[in-house]
C-alpha cells in the first residue's frame, strides 16, 4: 500500500475553516486524518498557496478532494534544471 502512495499538493479554501478550529494547520490536519490515519504533512503552506502536501493513495486523494474546504488535490510534478 505504501508503494501506491504518491505526493499530492492539497489546496484549501482558507476562508471556509470551520469555527471549531483555531488554527488553519489543525483544520488541514483534521481534513487529512479524515481520509488517512497514517498520512503526515510534508509541508504546510501559507504564502504561496493555502494548503499542504502529503503522501496518499489515489483512493485517499479522491476522498480528500470531496471533503469540505478542499479546492484541489494535485499530484506532485517533477521539474528539471534548464
Amino acid at each position: 500500500q505504501k508503494q501506491d502512495k504518491k505526493t499530492y499538493i492539497v489546496h484549501m479554501a482558507k476562508s471556509q475553516m470551520p469555527a471549531s478550529f483555531e488554527q488553519h494547520v489543525h483544520w488541514y490536519d483534521s481534513s487529512l486524518k479524515s481520509v488517512s490515519g497514517s498520512a503526515q504533512m510534508l509541508y504546510f503552506y501559507d504564502n504561496a498557496i493555502h494548503g499542504f502536501s502529503t503522501r496518499l493513495t489515489p483512493e485517499e486523494a479522491e476522498l480528500l478532494e470531496n471533503q469540505p474546504g478542499i479546492l484541489s488535490v494535485l499530484p506532485e510534478l517533477r521539474y528539471e534544471l534548464h
Binding site: 479554501a13 503552506y45 504561496a48 502536501s53 521539474y79 528539471e80
Partner: protein, 656 residues
C-alpha cells in the same frame, strides 16, 4: 560573469545605475541546487548591514552552518521533504542535506544574478577577466530545491512559500516542468503569490528549442527568459590530413595532442553497438580507437561523457559533431581529453573525409578565447520557442539574455564537466542554457528595482521588454542559430535585454493583481481554480466582459481562426492597452513596422500626450487579417516614441 557586463553596457554606464546603498536593499532569491558559499562571488566586502526587511535564515546541515552566510549571502535554506518522500532518505555521502551545492548549477545562477566582483576569474584561462554578477551589491538568498534525483514541486512550492515570507524582492528560477495549466503548475501558482507581494519572478524559458510550442514557465505574471549568444567564442579547429581546416569550439585545457597528424576514426566504425556513433558508455572497441582521434555524433548522452568514453577506450582526442537536431549551434565544454565540437555542416564534411580516405588523419588546434564575434547576440538553437501552448494570446518568451558559454561561480565538490570521474576542481565554470540567461534578467531586474523602488513587477518587466533591441547596430535583424535566418518574436520575444535603456523606458505597460485575476476570468477559470491561485475568494463578474485582448501585456499575439475566414474573407481583432508615463511630460507618436503581408495594423490615437508622471493613456490596436493558409505567421512591431524614448512591442500574427 566575465563578458556579459560589458556586452550589456553595464561597465560604460555605471554612473547611470543606482548607488550601492539602494541596490544593497534588494534581495534576490534563487531556487536551485544550493550554493558553494566559499566562492569568491559571495564575498561581502564593502556591503552594509543586511536589510532590516529581511526575515530569512541561514540553515545548518551537512557541511553548512549559519557561519557560511554573510552580508552578501544573507539566506540559505534547503527543501527535501518531497524528494525524500518519493526517493527515500538523502544519501549524505553523495549529496549534502543542507544548502550546500554539490552540483554547481545553483552557484552559477546565484553568482550570475548577484555575485560580487572577482578579479582574475577564468576557467583554465578561458574567458579570463573580472567576474561579477549583474547586481553586484544586491543580496543573495538561496533556496535549495533540486537534488541528485531531480526537483519536486512540493519542495519548490515550500521554497517559494518561505522566500515570500523571508522578504525577497526578485525570485530567480532556472527550472521548469511540463506544460501544465497555470492552476496545476506549482511554479506558476507560487509566482502568482509572489507577484501579489511585489516580487518579480524571472524564469528560464527552457532548452527545448528550436521546436515550436516548446516553452515552459509561460504564465503572464512570470518573466520568461530565452537565451542568446555573447560576442565571445572559444575556437578549436579540426585540421585534416587533406589540408582542410574546420572550425569548432572547445574549453579543453591540458596536455595537447602530439604536434603531428593522428589516425582518425568514426566512432560508428569502431563499435559493435548499433548506436556506436554516439560514443555511449562501453560502446567503443579499444583496439580500434587506441592512439587515435575519434569522431562522435552529438545526442542522447552528455557531450562531456562522450569524451570520457573515448578517453577510457584509449582514444587521444575527440571531434564531437552536431547532427540535424542541433544544427550549427556550438556549445563549448571543458572536456577531459583534447576535443572540439563542430556544427552539422562541418561534421558532415569531416565524416565525408573519414569515409573517403583510406588512411584518414587529423589534429585539433586550440585557439583560446576570442571576443568581438559578430553577429551577436544570436538566438541559441536550444532556447525554447513560442507560440505559447497554454495561452496562445500571450506572446512568450518575453525577451532573451546571454545564455551561451557563460562563465560564473562553481561548486568546489564537482569538476567542470559534472562527471563523477572528473577530478578537477575550479572556481568558475562555463556552461550554457536558459538557466544562465534567467539570472542575468533577475539581476538586471534587481538593478531596476533599486532605481525605481515603487515600480511593480509588471512595470519592471515592461521596461525590460519595451527597451529590448531586435536589430544589430548595422540595422540587420537579430539572427537565429537554428535557422541561420532572422529570428522572430516567437524566438526572441520583445528582443535582447538592454539594461541601460530599461532604466529610462519613458512609458510602461503596468499590470495589477486585479488585472491578472481578470485575465483568469477571460480564460474561463472556475471559481475554485481562481481561488487556488489567488488564495482568496474571487468571483468573476458575470455582467462584465473579460477579454484577453484588453490584458495590458507589453506584447501582442494575434490569432486568426482560418475556419472563420473562408472564401477569402478577412478578420478583425482589436486590442486595448494603457501606457503609464514614468518620466516627465512628453508627446509620443506611434509607428508600425515589419512584415505586413496579409495583415493591416492601425493604432488609434496615433499620438499620446502626457503632461506629467504617472499619467495613463489608453490606445487601441486594430489588426485586420486577410484569409491566409493555416500555420502562416506574420510579425510586426509597434513603437511609441517621443524622440528620446522608444517603447517597442512585438506583434505576432498567426493563422491557426
Amino acid at each position: 560573469t566575465t563578458r556579459s557586463p560589458e556586452f550589456l553596457g553595464l561597465d560604460k554606464s555605471a554612473d547611470m545605475f543606482p548607488q550601492s546603498d539602494s541596490v544593497g536593499d534588494v534581495i534576490i532569491g534563487v531556487l536551485d541546487t544550493g550554493v558553494w558559499p566559499e566562492s569568491k562571488s559571495f564575498a561581502d566586502t564593502g556591503l552594509g548591514p543586511v536589510p532590516a526587511t529581511w526575515k530569512g535564515q541561514c540553515e545548518s546541515g551537512t557541511n553548512f552552518t549559519s557561519a557560511n552566510c554573510n552580508r552578501k549571502l544573507i539566506g540559505a535554506r534547503f527543501f527535501g521533504n518531497g524528494y525524500e518522500a518519493t526517493l527515500g532518505p538523502i544519501d549524505e555521502s553523495k549529496e549534502s542535506k543542507s544548502p550546500r551545492d554539490d552540483d554547481g548549477h545553483g552557484t552559477h545562477t546565484a553568482s550570475t544574478a548577484g555575485g560580487s566582483v572577482v578579479e582574475g576569474a577564468s576557467l583554465f584561462g578561458y574567458a579570463a577577466g573580472t567576474a561579477r554578477g549583474m547586481a553586484t551589491h544586491a543580496r543573495v538568498a538561496v533556496y535549495k530545491v533540486c537534488w541528485l534525483g531531480g526537483c519536486f514541486s512540493s519542495d519548490i512550492l515550500a521554497a517559494m512559500d518561505k522566500a515570500i515570507a523571508d522578504g525577497v524582492n526578485v525570485l530567480s528560477m532556472s527550472l521548469g516542468g511540463g506544460m501544465s495549466d497555470y492552476y496545476k503548475d506549482s511554479v506558476a501558482i507560487g509566482a502568482f503569490a509572489a507577484m501579489e507581494k511585489g516580487i518579480l519572478v524571472s524564469c528560464s524559458a527552457g532548452n527545448a528549442g528550436p521546436t515550436s510550442y516548446s516553452l515552459s514557465n509561460v504564465a503572464p505574471w512570470i518573466t520568461t527568459v530565452g537565451a542568446g549568444t555573447l560576442d565571445r567564442d572559444f575556437p578549436a579547429f579540426v585540421s585534416l590530413g587533406n589540408g582542410r581546416n574546420y572550425s569548432g569550439v572547445s574549453l579543453f585545457k591540458g596536455s595537447n595532442l602530439p604536434g603531428k597528424l593522428l589516425p582518425f576514426v568514426y566512432a560508428g566504425n569502431a563499435s559493435n553497438s548499433t548506436n556506436g556513433n554516439l560514443c555511449m558508455m562501453d560502446s567503443l572497441i579499444p583496439e580500434k580507437v587506441a592512439g587515435k582521434l575519434v569522431l562522435c555524433d552529438r545526442g542522447v548522452n552528455a557531450r562531456v561523457q562522450k569524451g570520457a568514453v573515448v578517453k577510457e577506450a584509449g582514444g587521444l582526442g575527440m571531434v564531437l559533431a552536431n547532427t540535424a537536431a542541433n544544427g550549427e549551434e556550438l556549445v563549448a565544454d571543458a572536456h577531459l581529453l583534447p576535443a572540439t565540437s563542430v556544427g552539422q555542416k562541418n561534421g558532415d564534411l569531416i565524416k565525408s573525409y573519414l569515409s573517403s580516405d583510406s588512411n584518414p588523419t587529423a589534429t585539433i588546434l586550440f585557439e583560446g578565447t576570442k571576443v568581438g564575434i559578430q553577429p551577436s547576440p544570436v538566438v541559441a538553437a536550444f532556447s525554447s520557442r513560442g507560440p505559447n501552448s497554454i495561452t496562445p494570446d500571450i506572446l512568450k518568451p518575453d525577451l532573451i539574455a546571454p545564455g551561451v558559454n557563460i562563465l560564473a561561480g562553481w561548486s568546489g565538490s564537482v569538476g567542470p564537466t559534472g562527471l563523477s570521474t572528473d577530478p578537477r576542481r575550479v572556481e568558475f565554470n562555463i556552461i550554457s542554457g536558459t538557466s544562465m540567461s534567467c539570472p542575468h534578467v533577475s539581476g538586471l531586474a534587481a538593478l531596476l528595482k533599486a532605481a525605481h523602488p515603487d515600480w511593480s513587477p509588471a512595470a519592471i518587466r515592461s521596461a525590460l521588454m519595451t527597451t529590448a533591441y531586435v536589430a544589430y547596430k548595422n540595422g540587420q535583424k537579430l539572427k537565429d542559430t537554428a535557422s541561420g535566418k532572422d529570428s522572430t518574436p516567437f524566438d526572441h520575444g520583445a528582443g535582447h535585454v538592454d539594461p541601460v535603456s530599461a532604466l529610462d523606458p519613458g512609458l510602461v505597460y503596468d499590470l495589477t493583481s486585479e488585472d491578472y485575476l481578470s485575465f483568469l476570468c477571460a480564460l474561463n477559470y472556475t471559481a475554485s481554480q481562481i481561488t487556488s491561485l489567488a488564495r482568496r475568494r474571487f468571483s468573476c463578474d458575470s455582467n462584465k466582459k473579460y477579454s484577453l485582448n484588453d490584458f495590458n501585456y507589453p506584447s501582442f499575439a494575434v490569432n486568426f481562426d482560418t475556419t472563420q475566414m473562408i472564401n477569402g474573407g478577412s478578420s478583425v481583432a482589436k486590442y486595448t492597452r494603457t501606457l503609464t508615463n514614468v518620466v516627465g511630460a512628453g508627446t509620443y507618436k506611434a509607428s508600425i513596422s515589419g512584415q505586413l503581408t496579409g495583415v493591416k495594423i492601425s493604432v488609434n490615437p496615433q499620438v499620446l500626450n502626457f503632461s506629467q508622471a504617472k499619467e495613463k493613456k489608453t490606445f487601441t490596436v486594430t489588426v485586420t487579417g486577410s484569409s491566409l493558409p493555416i500555420n502562416t505567421n506574420a510579425f510586426a512591431r509597434l513603437e511609441w516614441s517621443d524622440g528620446k524614448h522608444v517603447v517597442g512591442s512585438p506583434i505576432a500574427v498567426s493563422w491557426t
